[in-house]
């Protein structure tokens, strides 16, 4: 199998997971596609070496995370963020927990958000999350626990609204 064919096969097997991961990080379909395309395009020339190392999936996940963070930094320099208005809800309508969670997730700083996605979407343990995000395991654990604490508080507020 040629390097190009092997790369195609790897992309076919991997891109759906990377796209979903990227989407959960940036919450924008087109941006997620751009991110994954940029990452995969850059990986093509290094595919043989990365594949040989056996850590290509981790590298791709890390690259997607870094690319989203990098784009966010560029956007912050170029745009003025508007305060996000909460979705209109009727006084009696209870907001589902998953909606509260998704709203909170979109407010989290990107490394914390990545840790939460890897923990609760990909079901990874903290050691693996730390490895993928290039941070100590304790930091990954702390990111997730703080996000959970914030969500509990948010859910509690919702219950008493």
């Amino acid at each position: 199998m040629s390097a190009s064919t092997a790369f195609d096969a790897w992309v076919s097997a991997t891109q759906s997971r990377l796209l979903r991961y990227a989407y959960l990080l940036c919450a924008d379909r087109e941006e997620a596609r751009d991110v994954v395309q940029d990452v995969l395009s850059r990986m093509f020339s290094r595919f043989d070496r990365l594949h040989g190392d056996g850590g290509i999936d981790a590298y791709a996940t890390r690259s997607v995370t870094n690319e989203v963070i990098s784009r966010r930094r560029r956007q912050q320099l170029e745009t003025v963020a508007l305060t996000r208005e909460p979705a209109m809800q009727s006084a009696t309508e209870k907001v589902p927990d998953r909606v509260v969670a998704w709203d909170l997730c979109r407010e989290l700083p990107m490394p914390q958000r990545a840790a939460v996605v890897l923990r609760f979407y990909e079901d990874l343990d903290f050691a693996r999350i730390g490895e993928l995000l290039d941070m100590p395991e304790a930091t990954a654990r702390s990111h997730v626990h703080r996000a959970l604490a914030a969500l509990r508080e948010r859910l509690d507020q919702e219950d008493h609204r």
């Binding site: 199998m1 190009s4 064919t5 790369f7 195609d8 096969a9 992309v11 076919s12 097997a13 891109q15 759906s16 796209l19 979903r20 989407y23 959960l24 919450a27 379909r29 087109e30 997620a32 596609r33 751009d34 994954v36 395309q37 995969l40 395009s41 990986m43 093509f44 020339s45 927990d97 998953r98 909606v99 509260v100 969670a101 998704w102 997730c105 939460v116 996605v117 923990r119 609760f120 979407y121 996000a147 959970l148 969500l151 509990r152 859910l155």
Partner: protein, 365 residues
């Protein structure tokens, strides 16, 4: 409480991850990409062709086939939906999922490769073997009918796409194949193939490529499987002006995605007639939602790319199930009509795709 918060995150991500995301095709380093792009840009600007026609929705550079070859026609190149190079003379592109293959122009689609297992139900002594080589339609349901097994002499030469790694049993006759991505392109030969047949099969499998857009402008994965998805940007099909090409892209849901099953490019008068048929359809929504089976998942649809003086816009045609049937340009929903159904499902000989999932009778209503 901890469980509730964790569960909320899990449910939120699971819900969001169901949003159709399609696929991407990594850009490969090209030799001299900048001179090519610059030259193309100069030519296009000189011709008044919008540069965005060279770019797909993600801003990627499409293949030079986005303009027709001036050497082939002697005319100035014009915009086209195709994302593939022009086929060899006398050949055409056929595509499925993310793989396109060139076959001789006279090859048509046929269900024979998977429907022949039930040949005896019509009381015949042998199946109706197609007279000419064909492109096999996507797999359909193979009935468990106690017909005598097919004999090698009942095999006709045909092309099919198989997922790599799927065991499909011992073939009755010789096959020639090539792996492209996660697809194996297979040409099955007759019982007594000639060297010419083998060479033809090798040429076919050797032409297989991974596609970003096929010869009708179709992408490998579409959001049409999502019943609530509508074309973006929304537009008004009645305002289509000087339609030069229409790409018909048939999708079928498989797993989480809606995958390309087959396509056809209409050009010139045929394209314009199809666009007029879309515009003339009465407003409304077809189907009988009250009689829907609960949980029925619509699986089949056609994405129509309309290329006119303004560029490329899409219309979704929903033809499966009992909800939201009809044409949708993102602004207005219209009922299916015979004029829009014939070019897709009822033209003879079939040269788009047959079988599998779509009930073409809906188009007779």
């Amino acid at each position: 409480m901890s469980d509730r918060a964790e569960q909320a995150f899990r449910e939120a991500f699971a819900e969001q991850a169901r949003i159709p995301l399609g696929g991407v095709a990594p850009r490969r380093p090209r030799r001299g990409p900048l001179p090519w792009l610059a030259a193309a840009a100069v030519v296009l600007v000189a011709l008044g062709v919008p540069l965005w026609l060279l770019l797909d929705g993600d801003g990627d550079v499409a293949l030079p086939a986005t303009t027709t070859s001036p050497s082939a026609t002697g005319e100035q190149p014009g915009p086209t939906l195709s994302g593939l190079p022009a086929p060899e003379e006398g050949w055409k592109w056929v595509s499925r999922h993310d793989v396109a293959v060139q076959v001789p122009e006279e090859w048509r689609y046929d269900d024979y490769a998977w429907s022949a297992s039930s040949w005896c139900i019509n009381g015949k002594s042998e199946p109706d073997v197609p007279e000419a080589p064909f492109v096999s339609s996507p797999w359909g349901a193979v009935a468990a009918i106690a017909c005598p097994e097919l004999r090698p002499e009942w095999v006709q030469m045909h092309l099919e796409w198989m997922p790599v790694g799927v065991e499909s049993g011992t073939p009755l006759t010789e096959q020639v194949s090539a792996v492209v991505g996660d697809t194996e392109v297979v040409v099955t030969l007759t019982a007594e193939p000639t060297d010419q047949d083998r060479a033809l099969a090798g040429t076919i499998t050797g032409s297989a490529v991974i596609l970003e857009r096929d010869a009708a402008g179709c992408v490998p994965v579409s959001p049409i499987a999502d019943i609530d998805a509508r074309p973006v940007p929304a537009w008004d099909v009645t305002e289509a002006d000087e339609v030069s090409e229409v790409g018909l892209c048939r999708y079928q849901e498989q797993g989480d995605d809606s995958l390309l099953m087959g396509s056809r490019l209409l050009v010139d008068d045929e394209a314009a007639a199809f666009a007029r048929a879309l515009a003339a359809a009465p407003e409304g929504v077809g189907g009988e939602p009250d009689s829907c089976i609960e949980g029925y998942q619509e699986t089949a649809g056609v994405v129509v790319h309309v290329l006119d003086a303004s560029g490329v816009r899409d219309v979704f045609l929903r033809v499966d199930g009992c909800r939201l049937l009809g044409a949708d340009d993102g602004t207005t929903r219209r009922l299916l009509t015979e004029d829009m159904c014939v070019p897709i499902f009822r033209r003879e000989p079939p040269d788009m795709v047959t079988g599998g999932g779509i009930d073409p009778h809906i188009c007779w209503n």
